[in-house]
């Protein structure tokens, strides 16, 4: 499917005390099934806002968003969200956190054993079978984020939406989770939209990098196709000339043409 997620002429404005603030303007984006898209830009450019629009947590002021040819009218289990701060419920075990999502989507058609099976599988996918009965406070930040990913994937969403999922993690854990995510995405053939401000992360993971201009009234500045073959290996890519070219391409966009207003 060519146009799995469609964003057409979307504008987003917020009413503030000083009047109307236009966050996003003239956003047009088509995403194919199985594509991995990253949204990159300086903080405040509205990339999270765009993600929340696709998630249905926000409604656009103007324009329309479609997922599998259906208008996005609110949040739904067809779009799994991984939040930046994991947002696990601290009083539920990892298993229960994931089960909550599974139950909502599949309880109408499947029995208890199948629901439990799905939950086990989702946690196995992120290598957390050993931590199923632990509470979120008893595991590390990286593990929490993996539970968050398991929760989103367990719903078998059409699209996986990730809002700076690894932003709060240390560099080593981040790299490890990126590698795991690459494997999971290859395995499940998921369509992913990820917000990031990490250039290496964007080049390593994406099929296309959507680079956004600075707000207010931010829009898509440029879309960069990443043709690097998969599976990708971060060590091999580190010296790859094409990787270097793409990387400097993104850097040039962010720091030359659209340097942050405060930094300039």
């Amino acid at each position: 499917m060519k146009n799995y997620v469609q964003v057409e002429n979307v504008q987003m404005s917020f009413g503030t005390r000083k009047g109307v603030f236009v966050a996003l303007k003239d956003i047009n984006l088509n995403i194919a099934r199985g594509e991995f898209i990253t949204l990159i830009g300086h903080s405040g450019c509205g990339k999270s806002t765009l993600l929340n629009l696709v998630a249905g947590l926000l409604m656009p002021s103007d324009g329309i968003l479609l997922c599998a040819d259906r208008e996005i009218g609110g949040p739904g289990p067809d779009r799994g969200v991984v939040f930046q701060n994991h947002s696990l419920l601290p009083w539920l075990t990892c298993f229960e956190n994931v089960h909550l999502a599974v139950e909502r989507v599949f309880s109408a058609t499947e029995d208890k054993a199948q629901l439990n099976q799905r939950t086990h599988e989702a946690l196995a996918l992120v290598h957390l079978t050993h931590a199923e009965q632990k509470l979120p406070n008893e595991i590390s930040g990286g593990m929490k984020q993996r539970v968050g990913i398991a929760r989103a994937l367990a719903m078998q969403p059409r699209v996986l939406l990730m809002d700076e999922p690894f932003g709060a993690l240390d560099a080593l854990t981040r790299a490890q989770l990126q590698d795991e995510l690459l494997k999971i995405v290859a395995q499940t053939n998921s369509t992913v939209i990820m917000v990031t401000h990490d250039v290496d992360e964007a080049v390593l993971l994406s099929d296309r990098i959507v680079m956004m201009t600075n707000g207010p009234a931010a829009t898509i500045g440029e879309i960069l196709g990443v043709g690097l073959p998969r599976p990708r290996n971060r060590l091999e890519l580190a010296g790859d000339p094409e990787y270097m070219r793409l990387r400097s391409e993104v850097l040039r966009f962010l720091y030359e043409r659209h340097a942050h207003p405060e930094a300039a």
């Binding site: 949040p75 419920l89 009083w91």
Partner: protein, 256 residues
């Protein structure tokens, strides 16, 4: 060494405090004719607690019965307040319109001394016991409404976003998110409420009479049995402390 540290840090200071307290009490008792000293009070307490559950008719019952009767009144008044106050707190916290509707009334009534409600209770129930329970009810309902509502209001947006993204039903939102997230606040409300309730019961019983620690104090004042009054003060203090400790322990179990 370790034992000494534990003793030095945790047992020694309170012990010194207790000894100083007794010394000051003794000096005060010596310089006053009416005030009995610690030893006299202790003897009297031993006699009193050797038979805590005698029953010589409605006006002369053991200290145990008096305490249990007071706790019973607090329990009923407090339980009714929880039954009404906690759901009300959820509604006030969740629905902004109702919050704005009720908040001036709550703000106005909350600082009123609970005893001011006693005549209303006597008037409506035409009996002393329900009136005392009514006073406990009124004094404990405010912290429960206010703290529960505060907990609901402070529910992190993240959790609500999770609920929206997972498309949870209202019932699931309540049982899996709203209730557990609010529980610590609710328990704070309950703790404040039981503290006030236990504070108020003594005064309420002094006014209403019957079997109870408050009336017992008043009765012993009429008998000019000052030792018993002092014992009652300690008993009220210790029971209050135990209630508080019980709830703190409960609250610890539910903090995440």
């Amino acid at each position: 060494m370790k034992y000494r540290c534990f003793f030095g840090e945790h047992l020694f200071p309170p012990l010194i405090g207790a000894v100083l307290f007794l010394v000051v009490w003794m000096i005060l008792a010596q310089s006053s004719e009416a005030l009995p000293g610690p030893l006299k009070t202790w003897d009297s307490a031993v006699a009193l607690f050797s038979d805590p559950f005698y029953n010589h008719g409605p006006n002369d019952q053991g200290i145990g019965w008096n305490i249990l009767n007071s706790l019973g009144r607090v329990g009923v008044g407090f339980g009714l307040a929880a039954l009404i106050g906690i759901p009300l707190g959820f509604i006030v916290g969740r629905v902004e319109f109702i919050d704005k509707m009720t908040s001036p009334i709550i703000s106005m009534l909350r600082p009123v001394s609970p005893l001011a409600w006693l005549p209303i209770g006597l008037l409506v129930f035409k009996a002393a016991n329900p009136a005392a329970i009514w006073v406990i009810f009124i004094s404990s309902i405010w912290p429960m409404i206010i703290n529960t509502a505060m907990g609901v209001r402070q529910l992190p947006q993240d959790y609500l976003n999770v609920a929206r993204v997972l498309n949870l039903s209202e019932w699931k939102i309540f049982t899996k998110i709203l209730f557990p997230a609010t529980l610590p606040y609710m328990l704070t409300g309950i703790r404040l409420a039981i503290g006030t309730a236990w504070l108020v019961i003594v005064a309420a019983e002094m006014l209403t009479g019957g079997v109870g620690i408050g009336f017992w104090v008043w009765d012993e004042w009429n008998n000019l049995n000052v030792e018993h009054i002092i014992i009652a003060i300690f008993v009220v203090g210790i029971v209050g402390l135990l209630l508080e400790m019980l709830l703190v322990k409960l609250a610890k179990r539910f903090s995440y």
